[in-house]
């Protein structure tokens, strides 16, 4: 089984974010890390390879700094990596990013393509789905489990309210992986050392003909939610006020 895992570098969860001057993205002087759902996607790919053999290739679309998530993937056990690199790669929307991935792997043949369910920065949750459409192959989202099945794979999807759905998919297929479906491994020091000699290919975004001009959507404004204090006085008979209060706590504030 040959598996491609798409991994994105995102601002670290607890990094103090500042909006950049153009109001469309954040300032770059923050710490970055691997998008968490993508880390689970990588872990699932490594487990599939350990169980059934094959190859795991990690791919990222991002500026030079994003190579770090590929080094981490290689250190954890990916066989090789592809960096689709461009200074403005972090400004691509889901469609343009999916175009970049589809073009970068044009000469390759993968049985499965894993992405995380969504990214922790833009959070569109679309890249994997659009990629499947561009490649003309099957896809399924919010994957909790992947098992081999006759002619393809059997996957468990997470639905709302604790429901699950089992699906059989033909290969090749794109699966977007839910966080928490396995236990993440740590990169060992030996793995980090070995990763230095694993292949890491760089493909320029420009050579693929992809740039933010392909974007189908644009960010109009990025801002930190403004905290406001508001005092409201509920008036009337105690019984009515109590009912109003309960309704507000339940419906507006959602604390009960």
């Amino acid at each position: 089984m040959r598996i491609l895992v798409c991994v994105k570098q995102v601002p670290a969860k607890d990094a103090p974010i500042k909006v950049a001057g153009d109001g469309a993205w954040i300032r770059e002087d923050v710490a970055y890390e691997t998008n968490e759902p993508d880390a689970y996607a990588l872990e699932e790919a490594l487990r599939q390879r350990e169980a059934h053999g094959g190859e795991v290739v990690a791919l990222t679309v991002g500026p030079a700094r994003a190579a770090q998530v590929l080094r981490e993937a290689l250190a954890k056990g990916a066989d090789r990596a592809i960096h689709v690199a461009g200074d403005d790669a972090h400004r691509l929307d889901s469609y343009a990013a999916a175009e970049a991935i589809a073009r970068a792997i044009a000469g390759e043949k993968f049985d499965l393509i894993f992405t995380g369910l969504q990214s922790e920065d833009y959070g569109y949750g679309q890249t994997g789905v659009v990629l499947a459409e561009l490649l003309g192959i099957a896809h399924a989202t919010i994957i909790m489990q992947v098992q081999p099945a006759a002619g393809g794979v059997r996957v468990k999807r997470e639905l709302e309210n604790g429901y699950f759905q089992y699906l059989n998919l033909p290969l090749p297929a794109v699966l977007t992986i839910q966080s928490g479906i396995n236990k993440l491994r740590y990169a060992t020091l030996m793995g980090i050392k070995q990763a230095k000699s694993k292949p890491l290919a760089t493909v320029a975004l420009a050579d693929l003909g992809v740039s933010p001009s392909l974007n189908r959507q644009s960010v109009a404004k990025l801002y930190v939610p403004v905290k406001t204090k508001k005092t409201e006085l509920l008036e009337g008979p105690a019984k009515e006020v109590a009912a109003q209060l309960a309704a507000r706590l339940k419906n507006d504030l959602r604390v009960i």
Binding site: A75, T188, M190, K193
Partner: protein
């Protein structure tokens, strides 16, 4: 417990390669997930978390800067960053790893026979075997050359008699690297399996410091070991001191970690703790003066550790450089811990925050592996050419 935020005022991370940052971040993730949640409990109970040893071995934390025999072959800066992240959680845990790596695996690696290396290094690397290092004696601390422990040759064996004190991991070790005077009065290194008759290890109780690591005294009463257990390359006190240099180098980084944790705790605390007119403590000049001083000293210490690490990778770090690193960074960390304790007020004495534990730990770190004052004299000797130890 406050979540640690990185401490990097001067863009220190820009001095590190991608791989070095990956080593730091991976060790940090592991330590925060596995050590941080249990460390206060371990310190309170005086318990070393031995259950984590196999996992630490699997991650490659033991002998990380040695090459071959299953070791990770890290650069010295990478190794230092591992020490920083471990000691950021606890000096006792870092001490365990330092002893295993620098004081047990290193002498076997540097002075051992091929047979000794093959027998011990893979097992020590994986954590299957634990080691300890016996140099200090009850009456000989800063002056180890005066040691009384003897190894007398009898046929194909050596017979060891004597006592060692303040031995990290002593009672949990499978093998001890013991320094003793041979029949020619030469300080020599021996590998002593701890299940040999006449070997005893007793834990030192009542420690106010390094409570999450084991500290023991060792006694040797006619302990017979094969002559092949002598480390062939360890022929003189200078070889024991070479081991200490390896460990001190790691301590120089580890102390930075402890200081980073104390500083970050004090900073976060002073930002949320409000006193006098609704202002956080951090808005007061006396608090800012402390924070500015702490971050300045931490930044200088980071640069010193990094630079000595680069020198060490080029085989240009001498014992004077390492004395300066250990002396400066540990004293700095202890100052930072004490200041942080002060800034947390009464909360600084409770184990809800890691400050007091770090502060108490660092009292040991200041003393062991060459006291602060001994390193002062080592640097003094290097700059003047005059030894002032006696």
């Amino acid at each position: 417990m406050l979540k640690f935020r990185d401490v990097d005022f001067i863009g220190f991370a820009s001095l590190l390669s991608d791989n070095e940052r990956l080593v730091r971040d991976s060790t940090r993730q592991w330590a925060e997930a596995n050590l941080t949640p249990i460390i206060e409990g371990c310190a309170r109970e005086g318990r070393f978390p031995r259950e984590l040893v196999p996992e630490m071995g699997r991650l490659g934390l033991f002998g990380a800067n040695l090459h071959g025999y299953g070791c990770a072959g890290m650069s010295n800066v990478e190794y230092g960053l591992v020490m920083q992240e471990l000691e950021r959680v606890d000096s006792g845990i870092r001490s365990f790893v330092s002893v295993q790596s620098a004081l047990v695996m290193y002498p076997i690696f540097a002075f051992g026979s091929e047979e000794q290396k093959n027998r011990w290094l893979p097992r020590l690397q994986s954590g299957e075997a634990i080691g300890c290092f016996g140099l200090t004696e009850p009456d000989f601390g800063s002056n180890p050359g005066g040691m009384r422990t003897r190894a007398r040759r009898q046929g194909d064996e050596y017979v060891l008699n004597g006592e060692k004190m303040w031995i990290t991991s002593g009672s949990i070790a499978h093998v001890a690297v013991v320094w003793a005077k041979d029949d020619d009065n030469v300080v020599s290194g021996f590998l002593v399996e701890t299940d040999r008759p006449g070997f005893r290890a007793e834990d030192i109780h009542g420690k106010y410091s390094l409570r999450a690591s084991v500290t023991s005294s060792l006694s040797f009463h006619d302990v017979r070991i094969p002559a092949a257990n002598r480390l062939p390359g360890a022929t003189g006190l200078k070889h024991a001191l070479m081991c200490l240099n390896q460990a001190r180098y790691g301590i120089g980084w580890g102390a930075v970690g402890a200081a980073m944790q104390c500083y970050d705790t004090a900073l976060q605390y002073s930002l949320f703790r409000v006193q006098f007119g609704g202002k956080p403590l951090a808005a007061h000049q006396l608090t800012q003066e402390k924070l500015a001083g702490m971050i300045t000293e931490i930044s200088k210490a980071q640069l010193l550790a990094w630079h000595v690490g680069r020198l060490k990778d080029q085989n240009r770090a001498d014992h004077g450089h390492i004395s300066m690193l250990k002396r400066n960074n540990v004293a700095m960390a202890l100052d930072v811990a004490r200041t942080a304790r002060d800034m947390l007020g009464a909360n600084g004495i409770a184990d809800e925050y890691p400050i007091f534990r770090h502060m108490a730990n660092l009292e040991s770190v200041k003393t062991y592996e060459g006291t602060h004052d001994i390193h002062t004299l080592a640097i003094g000797e290097k700059v003047t050419g005059i030894a002032a130890f006696e």
